[in-house]
Symmetry: C2
Amino acid sequence: MAKQQIRTQRTDWQRNHERLVEVASVLVARDGAQVSLEKIAREAGVGSATLHRHFPSRRALLEEVFQGIVERLRRRAGELAGGDPRTGLVTWLEELTVCAANTRGLAAWLAAGADNDPPNGDTCHVVMREATTVLVERAMSVAAVRPGLSPEDLLTLAEAVSLVTEDDPTAARRLLHLALDGVRP
Amino acid sequence: MAKQQIRTQRTDWQRNHERLVEVASVLVARDGAQVSLEKIAREAGVGSATLHRHFPSRRALLEEVFQGIVERLRRRAGELAGGDPRTGLVTWLEELTVCAANTRGLAAWLAAGADNDPPNGDTCHVVMREATTVLVERAMSVAAVRPGLSPEDLLTLAEAVSLVTEDDPTAARRLLHLALDGVRP
DNA sequence: AGACAAACGGAGGGACACCCCATATCGTAG
DNA sequence: CTACGATATGGGGTGTCCCTCCGTTTGTCT
């Protein structure tokens, strides 16, 4: 009975699940986050009903698609939090922005997590916010940034930049630095 | 024959055209730029074929929907260009950002005009860029902004902010000023 | 008023999201 | 190794949407 309580999925379920996420990653990267779900199912070799059973909404699918990338970013933030507090924050924002600008759909995904209506656990945006907060606090401790700076706002700004510069990492970096430096001489 | 060359539309054509734009404005403001075109046609009391005959694409419809607002903004930029060069640019960016954040779909619309594949005349983004350029040059002439500042980049940044703060003008203003001031003390 | 061009709208094709239920498959107990 | 029951599947059905064709209506000009 104790064995039953650990709900383990059937192997074909796991196989299909992984395959769907894998195929979705490729198609989202190629065609954007609005790809037809039926196309994903077809490409994965499963019926559309199966896709909908695994992922009740497009959100749920995208969540898993981007989960790996967000986790990698989170770890990167951890590394930077062990380095120079002066440069860590800027490096982090730059890498985050470029990554989001390069990964089709990710910027919109992160930004969408910002104004999340329901309390649906730790979204990717929340993960990013926590990572950013640590780096902002460290930068503040050596007075490398203005006091009172809101990590949330800063993250949203970086997300905004990557949202508007999708597929153009050069522009992403340029706009981010414009925002970080301000417009006054 | 000379009279024929001035292509004048039939009165019912004009009536339907105006009504469609009017209804579309309301529905886009309420439901976003992705509203069903059929819903717009239904609400306007015309068949969907008529809508497609008047507007060959969703772009074409949105172009007319936002045209009035963009024109109003352009005039406002003209006013500001006659005032204080030090404050004009900031006021302009602020009003632009708040307006775009308040007008559902406008931010995405302006941003979409930035990387426009085909040479489709003067889009709204181009109109905004010209308005911004004048104010940036005036601000530069009194050294109120860093030399070398790109009006295009600055406009894109404002669009990015309004894109990510849709329906939240307070946040829009806050993020814009964050970007204008920079993060360093 | 009558004729002709201009504009209309219903209907239908193709694509999509999502759901129902008969069927197939997996894991296990005997 | 086999048979059984729970689990998972997928074809097909519904409703919506975009877009187009074509027979019909409406405006305009003489």
